[in-house]
């Protein structure tokens, strides 16, 4: 991810071996930062890909995905502050 000095609130990891390319995460993502790649994985499915920026960490793609571990959602938090992850505000990351 290009370091623009401004960090996104969320980030995404996709296990392309587990993804079946159904596209439900693409549909679910509010800021539309997931797309299906043209490349096929080992099993012949096109796989979900994070565009690399803009994830808010909302987690809805995780809930919408049928595979147990295809998607992992990360959220930005202040080190040492667990309240930060629950109460993520617009200001975080600035």
């Amino acid at each position: 991810m290009a370091d623009t000095g401004k960090r996104d609130r969320g980030s995404l990891r996709i296990d392309t071996d587990e993804c079946k390319g159904c596209g439900l995460c693409v549909e679910a993502c509010p800021p539309k930062v997931i797309h299906l790649s043209d490349e096929l994985n080992h099993y012949g499915y096109p796989t979900a890909t994070y565009v690399g920026a803009g994830c808010t960490g909302c987690g809805i793609c995780f809930l919408a995905c049928p595979e147990p571990g295809a998607i992992t959602v990360l959220r930005l938090a202040h080190a040492g502050s667990s309240a930060a992850k629950a109460e993520m505000s617009e200001g975080v990351g600035r």
Binding site: D15, L24, L63, A64, P68, L76, A77
Partner: protein, 490 residues
């Protein structure tokens, strides 16, 4: 310190620890489920797993999986698992919950399973207010079997058995199970949710969690119906199927809470655990009576019995009957027995085999993997099971001599043309009884009287009974002679 250092990413949503790390159903693809891309079952599995994580109940959860596409749920959830016969999950769940009151029982069922073949079980479990949580996955069709109409299929919906669309005159109306159950007195919580869009998915998760939480609190019967896409049978893309849930299915099955008494409900009294078997005679007031008539005769067991037999041959050679006589006689002798005919793909090539166990102690599994005695009525059966025989065990083979390659030195062998010998006695079909006679002789397992008694019950025709008895005696004789030969040679 700069912001970059102070701030870091942490896990917000990740694989539930309630799932096994590997799904060892198959040798490969151990990280994927077996569900089709976009299948609602996967999404709902994740909801159940997450709720279990959040409630901290993994160690006491017992999942009852159904028959249907989700039959393999036990490969995914690292909790206690029971796989129930089609539709019986709420009854099985009742038994599990009552015998283990501390467990959290989740009955996971499809709409065919729950609303068709299992309509009685769910109705009565709900009516009893069983303290279990039911996750009812409604995809409006029988998916696993290829798309037959279900009670929940929408009017006009295509299925293989309603190719012109479901018609009320032919198949009735879509069954509203949740509303039906909502008419009962006992249920504490019933809600219908869907997987049609983000909002519905979030609501579905809250409902799943609540259904489990109610059970943790001991409140009683909770059911969540979830309208769930089946892209494969509906013949839609995953995204179109999701939209269909929201735009079409929901019109027939409106979402929302149908019953919620969680606020006022009091924790139910836990059922008492079942009494132990030894207490039963006292409860029935029969502790001073002797054993029932059929077991009255005192039997003396010469030694402990733990006999495992595999019988194999072509259909028509009397494979299953041989096993049955052995098992029946074992019962008469007061032993624990099991008799398991094996119907595998080999059935199609005309061969059959069965597993028989006789034991003084309770039998853990009816499968015989390492037989003490192999009765092989033809060469393919011999080759198939030869290597499985326990060292020191016996092989009784219907042939003049052991074929090439069957030369283990740790086995005892009797190879005779048993069927021909039976033919000389009167009918080749008594060959199985000649072999049984040899088996009885080499194992010393059962007395001739018990065998005669069982045989008398099973073979009604007097002529056959007489022939079978001679065949048994001949088999015993063949084995005794073979032992003598060995002594002479030695």
């Amino acid at each position: 310190m700069s912001d970059e250092v102070e701030m870091q990413y942490e896990l917000a949503q990740s694989r539930s620890k309630t799932f096994y790390a590997n799904f060892d159903r198959k040798d490969e693809l151990q990280h994927q489920t077996h569900y089709c891309p976009g299948c609602g079952h996967g999404i709902i599995h994740k909801m159940v797993a997450r709720a279990i994580d959040e409630l901290g109940i993994q160690n006491r959860t017992i999942l009852i999986s159904p028959v249907g596409c989700s039959v393999f749920a036990y490969y995914y959830f690292d909790v206690g698992n029971v796989q129930a016969a089609h539709g019986r999950a709420p009854a099985v769940g009742t038994a599990v919950k009552r015998s283990r009151p501390g467990s959290i029982v989740v009955s996971y069922q499809g709409d065919g399973d729950l609303s068709a073949i299992g309509s009685a079980e769910i109705l009565h479990a709900a009516n009893r207010g069983e303290n279990i949580s039911v996750i009812f996955v409604n995809n409006a069709i029988y998916s696993m079997t290829g798309g037959q109409v279900a009670p929940t299929t929408l009017l006009g919906q295509w299925s293989t058995t309603t190719p012109g669309g479901r018609k009320a005159e032919n198949e009735g109306y879509p069954l509203h199970v949740s509303e039906l159950l909502g008419a009962l007195e006992a249920p504490v919580y019933i809600e219908r949710a869907g997987l049609g869009d983000n909002k519905q998915i979030a609501q579905a998760y809250r409902a799943v969690r609540k259904a489990l939480e109610n059970q943790v609190r001991g409140l009683g019967f909770s059911l969540v119906e979830i309208l769930s896409p089946c892209p494969t049978i509906w013949k839609m893309s995953a995204v179109d199927a999701q939209h269909w849930v929201r735009d079409v299915m929901e019109k027939t099955f409106p979402l929302g809470v149908i019953r919620d008494r969680t606020k006022e409900a009091q924790p139910r009294k836990m059922p008492e655990a079942a009494v132990s078997t030894s207490e039963i005679p006292q409860l029935l007031g029969i502790e001073h009576e002797g054993p029932a008539e059929s077991h009255a005769a005192p039997f003396v067991r010469p030694k402990t019995t733990n006999l495992q037999v595999r019988v194999a041959g072509f259909g028509g050679q009397g494979v299953l009957l041989l096993g049955e006589v052995l098992a029946e006689a074992g019962l008469d002798a007061g032993l624990e027995v099991s008799w398991l005919p094996s119907y595998g793909p080999e059935m199609r090539s005309g061969t059959s085999n069965c597993h028989v166990r006789l034991s003084d102690e309770a039998i853990d599994s009816p499968l015989v993997v390492r037989p003490d005695v192999l009765v092989a009525m033809n060469e393919p059966s011999l080759h198939k099971f030869y290597e499985s025989v326990r060292p020191g065990g016996w092989v009784l083979y219907n042939g003049d001599a052991m074929p090439e390659g069957c030369d283990r030195s740790d086995l005892q062998v009797l190879a005779r043309p048993f069927m021909q010998i039976a033919n000389q006695l009167g009918d080749r079909r008594a060959g199985n009884m000649v072999m049984l006679g040899a088996l009885l002789e080499c194992t010393g397992a059962l007395s001739q009287e018990t065998i005669d008694k069982a045989l008398g019950r099973m073979v009604k025709n007097a002529k056959w009974l007489e022939l079978d008895k001679r065949a048994l005696a001949q088999g015993r004789e063949l084995l005794r002679e073979s032992l003598k030969e060995v002594c002479h040679e030695g």
